[in-house]
Symmetry: C2
Subunit: 317 residues, 2 copies
């Protein structure tokens, strides 16, 4: 694993985190510092018939004109079959060098070459496959930022990932559909109807969240979720607390199960993500006696930067 400071002599890096619903990018100096940022709603599901190449030209033409020698890398769903250029999944265990070797480059005519980061695939012990795309870059970025080469990384979100790293390589991971499940139930189920519209969260999670975590200790969501309704109907939980309670049930079940796959892992667990979600996870992790340390999601840019350097080093060999 190379640390950004070891390789600060190369050129600029344009790091693009191009996901399903949005895009974030950074123009990074040769020493890894972020000089400029772009945030755009042009996620791959919102291209609406526009070519990804045209979106790219419009967003990045100016940076590239200023820094024609920059290394340009994109991670996330843009490298999937539904994206711009498919970068096939690399198999776990996979280290930084494997990921760099799996980069797939495409020429944007007359402008630049763009490298797409591969996702990772794994087959669990029970023969079931699992995949990630985008989170691998965050994890390697976290390793580079922290200067560590092992640990458990939790990346909450639509499809929450738990990732085990040993010797600088991702040796295992598990996906949980936690965020999507919450969203489906909130927006489309009979449970959502009992919850006030758009109640802003704000502040720390409360007692209702803890109650949900507590109940998640055994049994199954399929049963526990119905208690959101029965508590609401019988007046045992106030309507504005029901979403918090449901969140505790779902995140609690994720943590309960996930920790059984990572029992040998060192403490603390590293939590990568947005502030409000991270604070819910910290609370659920604590409920299950797991210590955690929070990292912000700037680690994606750090990951892309380190990957660009590793790629350059591989090219020189």
């Amino acid at each position: 694993m190379m640390h950004p400071s070891d390789i600060a002599d190369s050129g600029e890096v344009i790091a693009i985190d191009w996901g399903t619903s949005s895009l974030r990018a950074a123009l990074m100096a040769p020493d890894g510092a972020v000089r400029e940022r772009i945030a755009s709603p042009d996620g791959i599901m919102f291209a609406n018939g526009r070519r990804f190449e045209d979106i790219f030209r419009a967003l990045f033409g100016e940076w590239i004109a200023r820094h024609p020698g920059a290394t340009i890398l994109a991670s996330g769903m843009i490298g999937s079959r539904q994206g711009w250029v498919e970068a096939p999944y690399a198999a776990c265990p996979a280290g930084f060098e494997d990921l760099a070797r799996g980069l797939v480059f495409a020429e944007v005519e007359g402008l630049a070459k763009v490298g797409f980061v591969p996702g990772l695939s794994i087959e669990h012990d029970d023969g079931v496959p699992d995949v990630m795309r985008g989170e691998e870059t965050q994890v390697f970025g976290a390793l580079a930022s922290l200067g560590v080469s092992e640990g458990v990384f939790v990346l909450p979100g639509t499809h929450s990932k738990w990732v085990r790293v040993e010797g600088g390589r991702i040796i295992g991971f598990r996906t949980f559909m936690t965020g999507e499940m919450f969203d489906l139930l909130r927006r489309h189920s009979i449970l959502g109807r009992l919850m006030p519209e758009g109640a802003p969260k704000g502040g720390e999670p409360g007692e209702a969240f803890d109650l949900g975590c507590e109940l998640s200790g055994s049994g199954t969501l399929l049963h526990h979720l119905f208690s959101v309704r029965s508590r609401g109907l019988l007046g045992k939980t106030a309507p504005e607390q029901l979403a918090d309670y449901m969140s505790g049930l779902i995140i609690g079940e994720e943590v309960r199960e996930a920790r059984t796959f990572f029992t040998e892992a060192p403490s603390p667990v590293y939590l990568v993500g947005r502030g409000d979600l991270a604070s819910l996870y910290r609370r659920a992790l604590a409920h299950y006696d797991l210590q955690s340390a929070a990292l912000d999601d700037g680690v994606t840019f750090a990951g892309l930067f380190a990957l660009a350097r590793t790629h350059r080093a591989q090219m020189k060999v």
Copy 2:
């Protein structure tokens, strides 16, 4: 428990199963035989501003004119707070007589009196409340039809119920959001997008369903569900099999958990419901070594009939 044949000397019964999305009714002879049937899409969520009383008059005026002395009972969501007249939940354990005593009657002016069947509520050992409304009538109908006074009854559906009966009383039950969960995931999640539109089921469940059941043996749906996506993406399960696989995962998890609450129960488990759903459940129950016997959902009318007789007997005392 009275058997219909003990009390065949009273008048006709109009039995109404009035649920969320539809309504079914039977005009029953004094001996319990179904003479005529009505099926209508006028479930309580489709009233669209019409008064329930007006729907009732339009559907049942003619039957009542012919049989002015008939006892009229309605079970299901029509007796909920969102329905016509609320019949408060009776607490478990509850027997047939408790249910009959909990009937709430309303006068439809100049036409008839209608009795609404109460739902049941329970507090589980972990302090969590649970409720049912409509299924209690099916279970008591099944008891009357089978001439038994104990057993475990499984009522698959949007909110699947497992009900334990001892000495003719419902002593416990658990709800699982199985049907709604399947529907949410099929219609609104990223998993549904991989499944062909409106693939007709038809025939027996296949290997993909069994594979889902197998995987449900440990762990959590939150994780297993993502394998619907990874199997689809990696070509390990064909698109037209993915819904069956997902169904096996969800129903399997229900059965895995539910049976732990009913370990002392006699065999077979009684399965009440539609043919195609019943065949999925029979397969999942067999996977978990539970013997089952299937009952059709005509048991609702048998339950309302027996309840009408019990009510008349209570009135005479």
